[in-house]
Amino acid sequence: MDEFPEPRRTLLAHGAVIAGLLVAISAPAADLAINGADVDSVKRERRSPAPFPSLGFSASALSAFPRGFDRWFQDAFGLRDVLIRMHNRIAVFSLGSSPIDTLLIGKDGWIFHLEQKAMESFRGLEPFEDWELEHWRRVLELRRDFVESLGAEYVVTHLPSKLEVYDHLVPERFVRVGPSRRAQLLAHMREHSNVRMVDVLPALKAEVAFDRPDRHVYYPHGVHWTDSGAAAAYRVLIDSLDDTPLSTDPLGREAFETLSDVGHRDSWAGRLHLEGEIKDQESGLRRIGGWRAEMKREKHARFRRDRHYLQPESSLPTAVLLHDSMGPWILPFMAEHFSRLEGVRRLYFPPEVLAEIKPDVVFDAIGERPLATRWPVGPTLAIQDRLERAFEKATDVRLLVDLNRELHLEPGMEQAVLSRLDGALEIAVEAGGNAVALPPFDATMPKSAGEFLLLKLDIEEPGESQIDVNYRFAVDGPVDVLNSYTVEGQQGRNVVYIPLSNPRMVGTGVLLRVGRTRGRYVLRHVEIRAVTDE
């Protein structure tokens, strides 16, 4: 048998085993009882701890209690932080492996982030098909035309991931089998379009030659570029305006002074429970004599992460930088060349914002990850007024959800509680991992050009958030939680229209992620129609 023969053992040996196990199973609960839940250890993972479930006596409350309790206890049991730290220390420092699949421990202890198909893109495993490249080209040209109709220049760059810039630190087992999506699109656009596409990768790779232990182009343990990387990219972006009336010279290295050890502005150390053990020292840059442009937050900002730079006395042109999380590093450099620079943090193209600002130049500088996860739409499909008109005219209703019956939480994405109200659905969000599954609908795209499916949502939000619609590419395939359409939600009631235009999308298992902010969301209307964009 898998049985163990039982040799003679002393009472002491028996006692030690019993005491050891009893202490080991009791210590977590004892620590919880004495010290309370270590909320900070969960917050270090940049998420909210699961709340203690409410205990009601209705059937649904009783049914939900065990799962809620398990979630709470998983976050709350004592010594959790100590155990995770011990594990991660062994994994990272002894085995050189990441404790989570979404990070990679590279050479020299560098950490690479793999989410959102970063590795697939880097290795060229999921290249664009020709028709997808053509779609991107058309969309970028439509965006360019829209920006030029405002009298502005349009410059596009897709920022390379750390994997591309520091490819020599990626373990050899990650063999590259083709170009990244970013490189593919760049080559396609250069061959087939005159949209101003800028490649900052050569400049960033050249900058790597200047690396020192406290100075790099990207944070060794984070995901973003540093001041040095941002400065190198900034010079390329400013240089790209050379053949325009806005031509100006970027500031050289000599214009900046080094600030030693500005701390770890970007590191996974905390989230791995290894702060203090993973050393983060990174110097920063500052313009000698101080920055000329001043950052201000203004009321007009539609989104709390938008940034606004001003040089009031200047006659310089104005600009918008459409950016993602890489933006904050490059904005100060860019702002030195404009009287007004709006840093607009969006993953999609916001025509209404640009029309309101009316800049002289628009830099569209988004990281390369959306190339693998977002289906781009042209500017007209992002104008809500226009979409509302199209929706009201359409008669081909593909889905009209009965909110009292048809929606349920996606299994595994249940960190919320649903309550049926009269004609509405309340979603009490406990944490970010929640998604409501829409009933199946006919997602066959209309045949005529300019026709597409449009989702109308009437939703009350507890605060500023992003509403995502995730979908799948095959009826039996998994819901791809990365591929999504996104629209912003503001606190209070929102009526938003989301174009669903990816021709590969299927209408089963589509997920609606109402927001990560904890609180009460109320869905009042969910409808999909096939519409014509006029």
Binding site: P5, A13, I84, R271
Partner: protein, 497 residues
Amino acid sequence: MVFSQPTFLFLFLPIVLGLYALAPRSAKNALLLGASLLFYSWGEEWLVLVMLASIGVNYRFGRWLERLGAAEGVAPSSRDRTSHADKAEQANLSRQRWVVALAVAFNLALLVALKYAVWLLHVFAEPIRSLGFDFQPPDSMPPPIGISFFTFQAISYVVDVYRGQAQAQRRVLDFALYIALFPQLIAGPIVRYRDIARQIQARTTRFSDFAEGCRRFIFGLAKKVVIADTMSAAASKIFEIPGSEITMPLAWVGLIFYGLHLYFDFSGYSDMAIGLGRMFGFRLLENFNYPYISSSVTEFWVRWHISLSSWFRDYLYIPLGGNKKGAFRTYLNLMLVFVLCGLWHGAAGVFLVFGLYHGGFLILERVGLGRALGRIPRPFRHVYAMVAVMLSFTVFRATSLADAAERTMPLFLPGTGDSLRHPLALYVETKSLGIAAIGILLSTPVYPLYLRWRGRAHVAAGGVGDLLELTFLAAAVAATWMLLSVNTFTPFLYFRF
């Protein structure tokens, strides 16, 4: 609830152990039953009512059989022979047969209704529709966890009472404890009532028993959390690769990882059940005997999930005539047993094929393959057995027969697949390789051999042997606790930029 989740390990178990230690002897069974029902309903909610219904009905069947004169210490066959003259006795025996048949039918109906009905409706949907009916089978739903275990336990109880091999339990609470005892409720082993009837009535837990229980529980938990879960994750990554892209070496590595996952998951649960049982004073029978050292498929089934194969042997194979009715009936009986054994693992066509596959090998080995194998060196026989068993795991894991075929082809086609997209090194990391090596080592009886040597060599108690063992157990606990904690570690990384 499962043994490897924090709620069980850090809350439920210490509380139940503490209360059990404090409870008076007369209240211990009631306490264990209450804990078991809470354990089950925590994950299965209202489905605990199904188990309670099964308990109530089977308890009544046992009492009914007892009233009809069963369970008097005489097997029905011998009662048959001695009571030819007594017609009343004959009628009584006939009634007993009806009652036991009714009891078996009830249990099988419960099992079929909750585990197989939807699958069967899907299988027969097309023929039904071809008859002109507008028939849409309902969506499948997972069966109540552990239903296959507690149903088989219930059947063994009523059959043993009928056969006179056990006395009917008169206290419903004690019978309920037999069915619902949480250590073996959800993953076995399948416990025969006659094996623990006395322990339910009266048992003692000696200090050394409790310590042995702790050792076994720690070992089982580490097998599950450290080895099985690591192998599961590593195997899953490989099984996600499309069949057309996977290379031959990678396909074999994936299969070996999966084989290790299956064995350590299942035997780990059995170890935990046996260990927990021992802590509460129960001696549960062993369920695995190092199946991966087998040198034939027949031997594999003697060593793998012993409580299931012996259940089928005692309650199906032998009643069907076993090997006493000629070669053809023997093969037919074997095949029937293995088809049902395959389906016991799940309601899907792949499990049917899994059973047919193993039944086929057992017949082949009886027909002559076994003799032929006996003439080759043991290492080659071992390779044969392992290849045969591992190949069946591709079917076991597959979602359909087409999926199984897609997974099996690369195992025999060198030079296919895409080694650039899926280099071996990408899937075989230091951690998974190290754990696999430990797993392969522990798949052999190296630890019992050490313990036996220690016993024979009279290594002094309290000496280096104890110290080594304590160090090993402490390391197992540390590794398990760390991995359990990491399973709750879900850092929000970068979802929305």
